[in-house]
């Protein structure tokens, strides 16, 4: 009975005092001017004392970014609203790294406190990098991780301490020319995590990082690279919340995963950006022979999210999974999905995508299944379920299949449903208010996703959903 009454229904109880609209007074040692130029990139790289090759990488990426047009798909109207001249490309919260929680500045701690982070910290106590602004301010590495030979650092430190590994892998999965936002990230990246797991090592505790945006008009461009050597296992978790600001904020991360033969990487994300944030993220993994990669991806909040975690299955019998949810409320567009690229034979993949739209919100599933010639014995299944909470909300599905091999098994299933009147009546006949009943039905709809999360995150997600449901009926 391990899964028993797991903090079952304190959904509503939390509601009232949970406000993300607070923010700390800005106190930053460096803040770049607005707009992006080669001068800023040079300065940024110099401040970080980066090796020459990284500066060149950045400048080349900047060039690509400036030349590349905006994507002509997705929500082009919102994309074209982004004013790249009106964004700070680098903010440094404090000048030095913090290793001990006690040394973390009070204002920053307070922000984390209100987000409930210390609890999770105490419970997990894995290495934690907490990103505040563009740089990591807190970073503790548990002793047994070090003993296992696992490297878990913020990317800036990793570049100093493990330059060779970084140089070999950085930007190999997502080159700057991949898309405009990957190019932007490559030019101005700051922070993010670097994880390297030695062959055969299982990291039993999830590695966690917390991200948070805090400066008006501030861009945040983390860069994460995870390398799992043959036969190793690691679960990395990131969760985000952001305070509410009046003008738009851009978040554009790049995440690269490399699962070598027989390795297993799970990458869990829950993002709850404030509703003015553009969240344009490029996430891609390569799975070699017998490797396994899972993206568990939850998107709440933001104004526009465009995110399609991808897995290139390049070795025989590699397996990929994307399990995602998207929640689109008023004036939000979640354009999320997944890509599975079957390059090698006998590779398998599963995509489960769930979306909820309410108050005129729009959720889109955009997916690609690609199978190369000679990739025989491929099995892939895609399932998209959309739940509409009212008449004015919208759900779209844009599935693409490029299958160049006949000996494959591909399944695709999509459903769109509404909260059922009979389900609502049943729960209300047991005393639940209409809002409680809807919350319960929605949480049930999301259960296949929630059950994959560590308990703390599952509880937090249920709370966020309950908050989103407040005032949705009546």
């Amino acid at each position: 009975m391990a899964a028993e009454v797991t903090k079952p229904f304190d959904l509503r109880a939390v509601g009232d005092d949970y406000k993300y609209g607070f923010h700390d007074k800005e106190d930053y040692s460096f803040k770049s001017g607005k707009g992006l130029t080669a001068e800023i990139v040079n300065k940024l790289s110099a401040m970080k004392n980066e090796p020459e090759w990284m500066l060149k990488f950045r400048l080349r990426a900047l060039d690509i970014f400036l030349k590349k047009p905006m994507p002509t798909w997705g929500n082009t109207e919102l994309l074209n609203d982004i004013d790249f001249q009106n964004i700070h490309y680098f903010v440094r919260a404090t000048d030095r790294q913090e290793r001990d929680w006690n040394e973390v500045p009070e204002g920053i701690k307070r922000t984390f406190d209100r987000l409930g982070i210390p609890e999770a910290e105490r419970k997990f106590l894995a290495g934690v990098t907490a990103q505040y602004e563009s740089e990591v301010v807190y970073h503790s590495i548990r002793e047994d991780l070090e003993k296992q030979g696992v490297i878990f650092l913020d990317m800036d430190t990793a570049l100093k301490e493990h330059e060779d590994i970084i140089r070999e892998h950085f930007g190999t999965i997502i080159p700057p020319a991949d898309n405009k936002f990957a190019a932007l990230n490559s030019a101005v990246w700051s922070g993010g995590s670097f994880v390297w797991v030695p062959a055969g090592v299982r990291v039993e505790i999830p590695l966690q990082a917390y991200f948070r945006i805090n400066t008006e008009n501030m861009g945040q461009f983390e860069r994460t690279l995870i390398i799992a050597e043959p036969g190793s296992y690691v679960h990395y978790i990131e969760g985000c919340t952001a305070p509410v600001y009046s003008s738009d904020s851009l978040h554009s991360a790049v995440v690269e995963l490399i699962a070598k033969p027989g390795a297993h990487i799970r990458y869990t994300t829950i993002q709850n950006w404030s509703k003015n944030v553009y969240n344009l993220v490029t996430k891609r993994a390569v799975a070699h022979e017998d490797a396994r990669v899972e993206w568990v991806d939850g998107n709440l909040g933001s104004k526009l999210t465009m995110k399609y975690p991808s897995i290139f299955l390049v070795g025989p019998r590699a397996h990929g999974e994307v399990l995602s949810i998207a929640f689109a409320g008023s004036s939000q567009h979640q354009d999320a999905g997944a890509k599975m690229v079957h390059v090698a034979p006998d590779t398998t993949s599963i995509i489960v995508s769930k979306s909820i739209s309410k108050d005129g919100g729009r959720a889109s599933y955009r997916g690609l299944i690609k199978v190369y010639p000679q990739a025989t014995g491929v099995k892939s299944s895609v399932r998209c379920d959309a739940l509409l909470l009212d008449e004015k909300s919208r759900s779209d599905t844009y599935p693409t299949m490029e299958i160049d091999e006949s000996k494959v098994t591909i399944e695709h299933e999509a459903t769109v449903s509404k909260v059922g009147e009979e389900q609502l009546f049943y729960l209300m006949s047991r005393g639940l208010t209409q809002a409680e009943a809807i919350t319960m039905i929605v949480n049930g709809f999301l259960e296949p996703f929630t059950k994959e999360l560590p308990l703390e995150y599952a509880v937090e997600l249920n709370r966020l959903i309950a908050l989103e449901m407040e005032g949705s009926v009546g």
């Binding site: 028993e4 079952p8 009546f425 006949s429 005393g431 639940l432 409680e436 319960m440 049930g444």
Partner: protein
């Protein structure tokens, strides 16, 4: 003997569902401590009455009144009715995928009692009641009615009824689709509910549930009205003679 409180008074009730009038003037009075059986053919309006009492939004009262504990019931939404002590055991309970029985029960009990029950205490209560209803432990982690057999659904309805301890319980065809063992279990669950303050309205098509539960009154419904009322012997007469004895089947 002092008369018990009239917990439910229905006067000349007319109900429409999607522009079709189903109830055409039902009157019924139920006192605390009484068990009433409501019998009748399929389509006579029995389930409509139960949904109306629980407050289903699609069931519109067009005329007449429903008084519950002395107040007008029709003004209350389903959840308010539940919290004030009305319970409906559904004939066809719906599945709610992803919501575990234990989470649901705890939320329901919290709503009815107005306070959170400590987990440990709640589990103990639950275990006791589940074992007397022959419900296995793994039931709790399953999703509400999702993939349940007919018998499991009905047991869950009875379990909820026991936990929510209603003042007025309406059981809609709780005996349908049950084998004899399940029927006995369910019947003993219902019997354990009875008491001087609880009123029960048993809706049933067949007489067989009444072999285990003895009603104080039996009513026969026909074409949206109660056409005959009597004591428990009426159920036996119906069993022997059929509904044609009361009234001919309506021409369809």
């Amino acid at each position: 003997m002092t008369e018990k409180e009239e917990i439910l008074v229905i006067k000349d009730l007319h109900v429409r569902v999607d522009d079709k009038e189903i109830l055409k003037g039902v009157s019924l009075t139920v006192r605390r401590g009484e068990i009433h059986a409501l019998m009748g053919r399929n389509g006579s309006g029995k389930s409509t009455l139960s949904y109306t009492l629980m407050g289903h939004p699609r069931y519109k009262v067009t005329a007449g009144q429903i008084w519950y504990k002395g107040s007008d019931l029709t003004a209350l939404a389903a959840d308010e009715r539940s919290r004030s002590g009305i319970y409906l055991a559904f004939q066809y309970p719906v599945a709610i995928p992803g919501v575990s029985v234990s989470n649901f029960l705890r939320a329901a009990v919290k709503s009815r009692r107005g306070t959170d029950v400590p987990v440990k205490e709640f589990r103990k209560e639950l275990r006791n009641r589940m074992s007397s209803l022959n419900i296995k432990d793994d039931f709790l982690s399953r999703y509400i009615n999702d993939g349940f057999s007919g018998g499991e659904k009905k047991r869950l309805e009875i379990l909820q009824m026991e936990l929510l301890a209603p003042d007025l319980a309406v059981l809609d065809e709780t005996d349908s689709g049950l084998d004899i063992d399940a029927l006995k279990t369910v019947a003993s669950g219902i019997n354990s509910m009875t008491g001087p303050d609880v009123a029960i309205l048993l809706i049933t098509h067949y007489q067989r549930l009444l072999n285990y539960i003895t009603p104080d009154y039996v009513h026969v419904m026909q074409d949206g009205q109660i056409v005959m009322s009597g004591g428990s012997e009426l159920a036996h007469q119906l069993e022997a003679r059929g509904y044609d004895w009361v009234a001919p089947a309506p021409v369809v």
